[in-house]
C-alpha cells in the first residue's frame, strides 16, 4: 500500500478524493452562506449556523474535513515539488501552448492563494465562533432556542469594503481552482472517456462559475442592500 501511495497515480488519487470531498463541503458552505441574503433578520442564517454547530454528524465530519484540507495541501506541495524535479532545466521560451493564466497550469498557485484566504477566513469567523468569542457574538433567541448571533458577526464584516473585495477574490479563486479540479479528479479516478471528458469539463466550468458567482454575490448583496 505504501508503494501505491508514493506512486504518481496513487498520490494523485488522494488529491482527487480529498478534492471532491472539499467540493462537497463547499456546496454546503455556499448554501448556508446564501441564507445570509434570504433573510435580513438573520434568523435563518443563525438557525443554520446553530444546526451546523450542534448536529452530531457535522461534529464528526469537522475533524474529517480538517484532515481533508491538510492532506490536500500537503500532498499538493509534495506533488508539485516532485514534478518540478522532473524538469531541472526550464525552457527559455516557455510554454506557448496553454495560456499563462490557464487554471490547469496554475493549480498550485491558485490553491496557495485560496489557502491564504482560508487562513484569513478562519481567523475572522471560525476561531471567534469556536474559541475566542467576539463582542459582536452575543446570544440570540430564535424560535425559543438560545444561540450565537453569528449573523451579527458575519454581516458586520460584510460592511467592510476591503473585506468584501477580498471575499469576492477568494470566491473567484476557488471557482478557478474547481474549474480544473473537478474534471481532473474524475480523470484521475479513471471515470472518464472521450464522451465523458467533454461533459466533465463542461460541468467543471459550470460548477466553478456557480461557486465564484455564488460567493461573490454575498458581499455584493450587502454592499447594495446596506
Amino acid at each position: 500500500m505504501s508503494s501505491f501511495m508514493s506512486a504518481s497515480i496513487g498520490r494523485k488519487l488522494l488529491m482527487s478524493i480529498t478534492g471532491l470531498f472539499l467540493i462537497s463541503f463547499l456546496c454546503i458552505h455556499l448554501t448556508l452562506n446564501l441564507f445570509l441574503t434570504f433573510d435580513d433578520s438573520g434568523n435563518l442564517f443563525n438557525l443554520a449556523a446553530h444546526f451546523m454547530a450542534t448536529n452530531p454528524l457535522i461534529k464528526i465530519m469537522e475533524p474529517v474535513l480538517a484532515v481533508g484540507f491538510v492532506v490536500h495541501i500537503i500532498w499538493s506541495a509534495w506533488i508539485t515539488l516532485e514534478n518540478m524535479r522532473a524538469r531541472p532545466q526550464k525552457y527559455a521560451y516557455g510554454d506557448q501552448l496553454l495560456s499563462w493564466w490557464a487554471p490547469a497550469k496554475n493549480m498550485f498557485i491558485l490553491g496557495a492563494m485560496v489557502l491564504v484566504f482560508l487562513v484569513i477566513h478562519l481567523v475572522n469567523f471560525w476561531i471567534k465562533m469556536k474559541f475566542t468569542g467576539d463582542p459582536l457574538l452575543t446570544s440570540v433567541n430564535v424560535g425559543g432556542v438560545e444561540m450565537h448571533n453569528a449573523y451579527a458577526l458575519v454581516s458586520n464584516l460584510f460592511m467592510n469594503p476591503l473585506y468584501n473585495v477580498l471575499y469576492m477574490i477568494g470566491g473567484i479563486l476557488v471557482g478557478l481552482h474547481i474549474s480544473h479540479g473537478f474534471w481532473s479528479a474524475f480523470q484521475t479516478i479513471g471515470f472518464s472517456n472521450q464522451i465523458w471528458l467533454k461533459r466533465l469539463k463542461f460541468l467543471a466550468v459550470a460548477i466553478g462559475v456557480v461557486f465564484a458567482a455564488g460567493f461573490a454575490y454575498i458581499p455584493i448583496y450587502f454592499m447594495i442592500k446596506f
Binding site: R11, K12, D95, L97
Partner: protein
Amino acid sequence: MADIILNKIYVKVWRQNSPKAKGGFETYQVENVSQGTSFLEMIDILNDKLILEGKDPIAFDHDCREGICGMCSMYINGHAHGPDTEVTTCQLHMRKFHEGQTIVVEPWRAAAFPVIKDVMVDRTAFEKIQQAGGYVSVNTGGVPDGNVILIGQDDAEEAMDAAACIGCGACVATCKNSSAMLFVAAKVSQFAKLPQGKIEAKKRAKAMVAKMDELGFGGCTNTGGCELACPKSISIAHIARLNREYLSAKLAD
C-alpha cells in the same frame, strides 16, 4: 505558384557539446530559405553553412522525415514540434515563419531525457517503459486465423488511435511536469481494448507506471498540454483508461 523566399531569418539554437557540458544559445543567420522547405531542411542548409565556415554542425535527431518515425525532436518557439498542429518537426514547413523572424530552438527538457548534444536528447527511457510491459506475450506456432477472435469495430478503432503513438516524446516535452502519462496511456490503451492484451493487463499497467516513476518523469496533473502537442492527436481520455487500469490492478493485489 513559386514559393516565397525568406531572405533572412535568425535561428537561436541550443548548443551543448556533451551531456555534462554547460550549454548555451547561439544565434545564426540563414539566408534565402524557401517557405516550401521543411524545418529540418532549413537546419540542413544552416549546417552546410556551418561546415563551410569550419564550425561544428548542429546535432539533431531525424530519420524518416515523413512524420512517422518519431525521431525529430525540437522545441521551437515554445511549441514541441513547432507552431503547427498534428505534425512532427520534419513535417513543419518554413511557411509557418516570416521574414526576419528569430526562431528559438531548444531540446526536449526533461530529467528523464538528458541532452546528448545540442538539440539531440536520449529517449531510452521510453524504450525502458516499453520493455517493462508494453508487449503481448505470444507462443510461437502457426499463424492463427484472423477471424478466430472477433473484435468490435469501436474497440479496434480506439486501440488503433492509441497505437498511433510514435513515441516522439512531445508529450513529455510539453507537459509542465515532464510527465510521460500520455505515452504510457497510449501504450497501455492499445492493448487494453483488445482481447489479446487483457491477459497481461494488470501486470502491464503496474509495471509500466512503476518504470515511468522510477525513470524520473513527473506526475500527470491533467493540464492537457500533451494532447495539444501530440503530432498524432492522442486523446487524454487514454490517460483516464490508464488510471482505471492501474487502480483496478492495484485493488486486485
